[in-house]
Every structure is written in structure tokens, then in C-alpha cells.
């Protein structure tokens, strides 16, 4: 019986230790790995004097977005009427919003680009990411803020960069991170696993020649003279590319067109 008592004590101790081990909440997003904007002389951005602009057109009737059910969180439910559907496809006057437009090849080799030090911010407000789609430079600080009176977790489903998943339990909480490696084809999805409708996309670039289409579908890139492959990417309709040649101080009007027949690769 005495042996049994000792054994029982040991078992209880093991259970207690198992329950108590580990732990702690991470206050900061994990550090980045690798990256940098390459070697070579720093590119002179004053040479980027040509303008490539245009509109991302959507042909036909845009497909309806998925309805959002926010009743799982009373705070989010208060804002449900403002966001009845997902932000996947936003078309205004034939222009498609939230398309990442970037130079995918043709940039000069052997140069580096001045690091972007100005932090970008993505806010979780009214149970939505603002902005929904954005671009950032490698190693540029990204602040993730929770403006809501509810909990969010920010989960980056990165493939080339380290994934992370951090909770933000308190309103006003801000975490900062950086992505060390370019990741834009496709961009990194950001998700909140608490509120499954919350999603955003961030395209990470080593170079500064990228932008996101505005609500009316327009975009503008400043480029140095040269011949480039320019890509437009949308979360539902995938990507399209075109070749663009610009000379000094050129102003070139180009456009991309998407339709319901286009589909993003899985």
C-alpha cells in the first residue's frame, strides 16, 4: 500500500508538471530571417522618372462576395451591418480594387535599393483588416494593431518567410514585425483564426516598384527607363502580365483586364 501511495504521488506530480510547463505569451512577433536588398551600389531613385499608369478593368458582372456571419462575436456583430459581405471583389465603375501591380522582371541587376524604414500599419478595426491588400519592402517595419474591443490573432501564412501567429487580447495592442524575404507570387495571406472572415494579403518586395490599385481600379508606378514585365495579381482572379517599355520621363498608359473566367491558382 505504501508503494502505491508513492506511485500515486509521482503520478500526480507528473500531471501537475505537465499542466504547469511551457507557457508565456509572446509579446512580439518573431524575428525575421535572411533578406536584405542584395549587394551592389544603391539604385538612384531619381532615375525612376517614367510613369506607368492605368486602370485594372473588370469585364462583365462581378461575382457576389461571400456573406459574412459575425454573430460568433458580439463586438463584431455590432459592426456587421457595415460589412455584410467579404471584400474579395470590389468593383467601382468597372475598376477593380485591391490588385497588386508590380515589376516582376527586367529590373537592373547588381544594384540594391535604399531600405524602407518608414513603418507600415495594418489595423484590425471593426473586425476587418485595414488595408485589405497592401505591399511592403523586405525588412520594412510592419505594425499590426488591434483597434477593436475584442481579441484577434494575427496569423501570417507565409511560405518563404517564417510563419507566425500572435494573439492580441487588448485594444490598442501593437506588434511589429518585418519580412526578410520577398514573397509576392502569391502574396502572404494574413488571417485571424478567431474571426474566419478576416483576411488580408501582403506582397513583400525587395524593390520599390509595386503598388495596389485604388477603389476606382487605377494605379501608378514610377520606373526607370527600360523594358519590364509588369504583373497584376488579384486574390480571386489570379495574375496577368504584360511587357512595358518606357524611356526617360515617359508617361505610359497601360491597363489590365480581369473577368469571372479568370481564376487564381490554388
Amino acid at each position: 500500500m505504501h508503494k502505491r501511495t508513492i506511485l500515486l504521488g509521482a503520478l500526480l506530480l507528473a500531471v501537475a508538471l505537465a499542466g504547469a510547463c511551457g507557457g508565456g505569451n509572446d509579446d512580439d512577433l518573431p524575428p525575421v530571417e535572411g533578406g536584405g536588398s542584395g549587394g551592389g551600389p544603391t539604385f538612384d531613385m531619381s532615375k525612376a522618372n517614367a510613369t506607368v499608369s492605368g486602370k485594372i478593368a473588370f469585364e462583365g458582372t462581378p461575382p457576389p462576395n461571400d456573406k459574412i456571419q459575425m454573430s460568433a462575436d458580439p463586438f463584431c456583430q455590432m459592426h456587421a451591418s457595415s460589412y455584410p459581405v467579404a471584400e474579395t471583389v470590389k468593383v467601382n465603375n468597372g475598376g477593380l480594387e485591391n490588385v497588386i501591380v508590380y515589376v516582376s522582371s527586367g529590373l537592373p541587376t547588381g544594384v540594391s535599393y535604399a531600405p524602407a524604414t518608414q513603418p507600415l500599419e495594418v489595423d484590425q478595426m471593426n473586425c476587418h483588416y485595414i488595408p485589405h491588400v497592401f505591399t511592403i519592402r523586405t525588412n520594412q517595419p510592419l505594425k499590426v494593431k488591434n483597434s477593436d474591443m475584442t481579441l484577434h490573432n494575427i496569423h501570417a501564412y507565409a511560405e518563404k518567410n517564417p510563419q507566425f501567429n500572435v494573439g492580441q487580447a487588448v485594444q490598442g495592442m501593437v506588434n511589429e514585425t518585418k519580412f526578410g524575404l520577398p514573397e509576392n507570387a502569391p502574396p502572404i495571406p494574413l488571417r485571424c483564426d478567431v474571426h474566419r472572415w478576416m483576411g488580408a494579403f501582403v506582397g513583400v518586395f525587395e524593390h520599390p516598384f509595386h503598388t495596389v490599385s485604388k477603389p476606382d481600379g487605377t494605379f501608378e508606378l514610377k520606373l526607370p527607363p527600360g523594358t519590364y514585365e509588369v504583373t497584376a495579381w488579384h486574390e480571386k482572379f489570379g495574375k496577368k502580365t504584360m511587357m512595358v517599355e518606357v524611356k526617360d520621363n515617359d508617361k505610359k498608359d497601360v491597363g489590365f483586364s480581369f473577368s469571372v473566367a479568370d481564376k487564381a491558382a490554388d
Binding site: 500526480l12 508565456g24 475584442t150 474566419r196
Partner: protein, 317 residues
């Protein structure tokens, strides 16, 4: 003393029911894709998990934190059962089996934490799902071994002449169900549940083009379903033909047959509804019940069916 041991048996039965509920709740976490809604472990958003305010159980947190809560309760009940066993159970091997159940539930908790901290790698999540089924079977075994009928000796039945002895058949069926559950867990955690989006055909064909690992795993799960259903029909028909009057064998065999029919219907519904939460989760729970019933039948078949009853009685005397 006898009364207390009956209580022990009932408690083991109760724990088996709690475990089935826990498997359902765990299935809900995966079905609602809430596995990472609580990013830290063993804390919850920095709180001790038992002091985390209920008002904050919102969205996916409700499922993930609820799963942790139910798991903690099951873990606590397992501690109680093990302590009770060591205090009252005379058979050392049963005491050690309860200790194995306790070890399993502790490892299960650690695996659950590990999969959260590692952002749900497929192999850890699959291992977590498989250990859940193993633990469930262990608790069922404890309930069976502490039952009065087991302790007083199950009625012996003379083995009928068959190509495959009933015990072997039951063991094969249970092994097939367990392998099928591993495939199911792998499919779930690879997010391959809709890799083949149609049923009963597979991409409009009987055999789909194997263009990805997800399709291979999904199709293997469907083939596994055919094998498992065949094994269960074989087992049931054997018992119905040769052991029909042995209610301890016939009833679980019949239950297993009904459950596997329900299981196939739930699997089809999960696909037709594009993995709607409740049919998909019910498929997980029902799969565990198929395994549990098959395991129970196996234990009984191994204990009851003998080649020579008179020799068994003599050895017992």
C-alpha cells in the same frame, strides 16, 4: 467492496462517454478551422486557461479553448480513475492499463500544445488525432475489464468452424478501422477533405487522376471505407450466422453495422455540403464509435470464443 468496484466500472464508462464528447469537440476545432484561434499554450492569450474570462470565448476561441477545457476535465477524470484503480483494483495489469491511459492523456495534452506552438504541422496534428482514438480504446478496455460480467467470466462459446476464426476476423476489422481513422485524420489535417469534390464518383470517374498528394490520400480514404465496410459486413454476417444467440457478440456487431452505414452517409454528406461543420464533425465522432464498437467486440470475441469449452472450464477450475 463489490459495490465500490461497480462504481469504478461505471466511472470508467462515464469517462469513455466523456472521451467520445471530447473527440467531437476536437473535431469541431478542425471543422471550424479554429486550431490556431488561441495562439499560445498552455496559457490562453496570456491568461491561465482556467481564469480566461468566459466573455472572451468568441469566434474560434470558443471551439479551441472549449476543447482545451473539456480535455482538461477528461485529463482530471483520468487521474481520478487511475488513483481509484490503484486503490481498489486487485489486478495489477488493469492498474497498469489505467496508468497507460493516464500517460496517453498527458502525451495527448502535450501533443495538442505542440501542434499549436508549431502552427499545426500535419504530422503532429495527425498524431494527436490518432492518439485520441487509442486513448478512447484504452478507456473502453478499462470499462470492459472492470465490468461485473468480465470479472465473473463471460460465457464461453465454442468456436464454429470457419475459414477465419472470429477472433482473428474481429482483430482484422478493428485494425482496418484504426488504419482508416489514421487516413481520415491525415486527410483532415492535410486539408484534403474536398480534394475530390464529388461523390460517389471521383472527379467524374471511378478512379481520379492522381495529380496531387491530397487526391491520393483522399482516394485512399474512400478505398479504405470500402474495405472497412466489407470487413464489418463480413464480421456481422459471421456472427449473425454462427453466434446469433450470443447477445454479447451480436449486439455490438449489429451496432457496428449500423454505425458504418451512418458513417458512409455522413462522409457523403460532408462532401455534398462542402464540409459543413456538423456533418463533418459527426463523421469524426461516428468514426470513433465504429472503432470503439469494433474494439469492444474484439475483446469479447477473444474472451468468449474458445476451441474446447470443457478444457477451458477445467483450466478455470
Amino acid at each position: 467492496m463489490r459495490h465500490e468496484n461497480l462504481a469504478l466500472h461505471r466511472f470508467a464508462l462515464f469517462l469513455a462517454c466523456c472521451t467520445a464528447f471530447l473527440i467531437f469537440v476536437g473535431g469541431l476545432v478542425t471543422s471550424t478551422e479554429s486550431g490556431l484561434a488561441v495562439p499560445d499554450w498552455p496559457t490562453t492569450y496570456g491568461w491561465n486557461m482556467f481564469t480566461f474570462p468566459y466573455s472572451m470565448w468568441v469566434g474560434g476561441i470558443f471551439y479551441e479553448h472549449g476543447h482545451r477545457y473539456v480535455a482538461s476535465i477528461v485529463g482530471f477524470f483520468t487521474v481520478v480513475l487511475t488513483v481509484w484503480m490503484w486503490m481498489r483494483e486487485k489486478r495489477a495489469w488493469v492498474r497498469w492499463l489505467s496508468t497507460a491511459a493516464l500517460a496517453a492523456v498527458i502525451i495527448q495534452g502535450l501533443l495538442g500544445g505542440l501542434t499549436v506552438r508549431l502552427l499545426l504541422p500535419t504530422w503532429v496534428s495527425t498524431l494527436h488525432a490518432c492518439l485520441a482514438q487509442t486513448y478512447f480504446c484504452t478507456v473502453i478496455a478499462l470499462a470492459v475489464f472492470t465490468s461485473p460480467e468480465w470479472k465473473h467470466g463471460l460465457p464461453l462459446v465454442k468456436a464454429r468452424t470457419q475459414s477465419v476464426p472470429l477472433q482473428t476476423l474481429c482483430i482484422m476489422t478493428t485494425a482496418a478501422v484504426y488504419l482508416q481513422l489514421i487516413l481520415g485524420a491525415l486527410m483532415r489535417h492535410m486539408d484534403a477533405g474536398l480534394a475530390i469534390p464529388d461523390f460517389p464518383l471521383a472527379m467524374g470517374q471511378i478512379i481520379p487522376p492522381f495529380t496531387s498528394g491530397k487526391i491520393v490520400v483522399h482516394f485512399a480514404h474512400r478505398v479504405g471505407a470500402v474495405i472497412v465496410a466489407s470487413m464489418i459486413i463480413w464480421t456481422f454476417s459471421t456472427i449473425a450466422r454462427s453466434y446469433r444467440h450470443e447477445r454479447l457478440l451480436f449486439r455490438p456487431a449489429l451496432a457496428m453495422l449500423v454505425l458504418v452505414i451512418v458513417q458512409i452517409a455522413l462522409g457523403a454528406t460532408a462532401i455534398w455540403t462542402a464540409k459543413a461543420v456538423y456533418p463533418t464533425t459527426a463523421h469524426v465522432l461516428n468514426g470513433a464509435l465504429v472503432l470503439g464498437t469494433s474494439f469492444l467486440l474484439t475483446l469479447r470475441a477473444c474472451a468468449m470464443v474458445v476451441m474446447d469449452i470443457s478444457r477451458e472450464y477445467r483450466s478455470a477450475v
